[in-house]
Symmetry: C2
Subunit: 237 residues, 2 copies
């Protein structure tokens, strides 16, 4: 089986070499994205793409690539359904400690709910004379970047027929805290830069693995948010 | 008591109108930042700043402003100690689900540990044919922004002698998901923009509250990270 780097357009072709068993799993055939968009999974097809082969078992990273490709096709024809609004609520607890709640969002033309609420505690560490009840906000941003890239790696690997065994990342963001402390007006508040280091065990060559990571970067929402400017408006009611 | 907007430099002067009881709390006098930097809290002083008064009880938002101001002073003289490295570890679970762990960081010239590890589950929602085991990465970024601004609001309010009663925020990030799906090369992957709406109950006028929020924005690490470009390098070991 070859996993050579394919051109970007081609790589988003449906992966067609899934086993029928996989294709018939309820979460593939009746995935909500398919249902809402009227898209049917093509997973029962056994056609092989030009660049795919079935010389070994199909990769299963737990990502439903057919549904995503179906969604892309359907949303390209109904672009208003692709307009999403993601939300977080935040409530001050005490000192620098606050709690964020992630509950619902808007997408596919209607309000959507997560299966359950997710809460995130944030605080400053003890060396900042705080009580360290949660991660610092900048660490939370690093975790958001990490999880976005890792999800993308799983999806791209799935699309390329690469079986992942383990994916681990360490992220480091350097910062001169004289910026946030107001000690030097020439020092920025945010990170000087971020370094992400992946260690990946997968059924692929080192170059193929690097290509998967590169493609994940290219499609990552959080990578884009951090590397490019995003307008933030803050209002007080 | 007046809470008028003061110039930026003045506002970072030590707040000197704390009660002696507060000043003698162990977490003020023996805060690690003070200890490590050899800074002593000025909290026992009862001098009043030019712009402060004691016509009502001192605000107590649970933020140790003296320690932060002491740290700024000490770090300005020892700028190498102000070089921090924040970290997150991330591990793929299955599909788009991953887990981030926040543990330690580097700062004040040495390795530092959080009181405990913080973990964050991330996933994609069910409408993306995922299993929704955690918040989506972009929602995690919104929570990081929220918590950074809220911590700043508490600190700035404390410095200005404004007692907070409640601080709540709703954040919304709009996104055309045809970007991340690869459906339209002209659509960016990240947010089109982010709107943050605060509702704050505090012992201050609406204009004073707005000024506190504006100052928090100005010193927020995550606000800077999102609104300005930050270099991210991704490597595979």
């Amino acid at each position: 089986m070859t996993h050579g780097r394919r051109p970007d357009l081609e790589e988003l072709e449906a992966e067609r070499d899934r086993t029928e068993e996989e294709a018939l799993r309820p979460d593939v055939v009746d995935s909500p994205v398919s249902t809402l968009l009227g898209v049917r999974s093509q997973g029962t097809s056994t056609n092989e793409g030009e660049h795919m082969s079935t010389t070994k078992e199909a990769a299963n990273n737990g990502v439903n690539v057919e549904a995503l490709l179906g969604a892309r096709e359907a949303l390209s024809k109904a672009p208003e359904a692709a307009q999403f609004t993601w939300r977080a609520q935040n409530e001050w607890v005490r000192g620098t400690h606050s709690r964020s709640t992630i509950d619902g969002f808007f997408g596919l033309g209607q309000e959507q709910k997560h299966r359950k609420s997710f809460t995130f505690e944030a605080d400053h560490p003890e060396i900042f004379a705080s009580e360290d009840h949660g991660a610092t906000p900048v660490e939370i941003v690093l975790s958001g970047l990490a999880s976005c890239l890792t999800a993308g790696i799983a999806a791209v690997a799935q699309n390329r027929g690469i079986q992942l065994r383990s994916v681990k990342a360490t992220l480091e963001g350097t910062m001169d805290i004289l910026g946030i402390l107001g000690g030097d007006p020439d020092v920025r508040n945010g990170f000087n830069g971020i370094k992400v280091s992946y260690t990946i065990d997968a059924d692929a060559t080192p170059d193929e693995i690097k290509a998967v990571v590169a493609q994940s970067q290219k499609r990552s929402a959080v990578f884009d948010i951090i590397t490019n400017p995003t307008n933030v408006s803050v209002e007080v009611n």
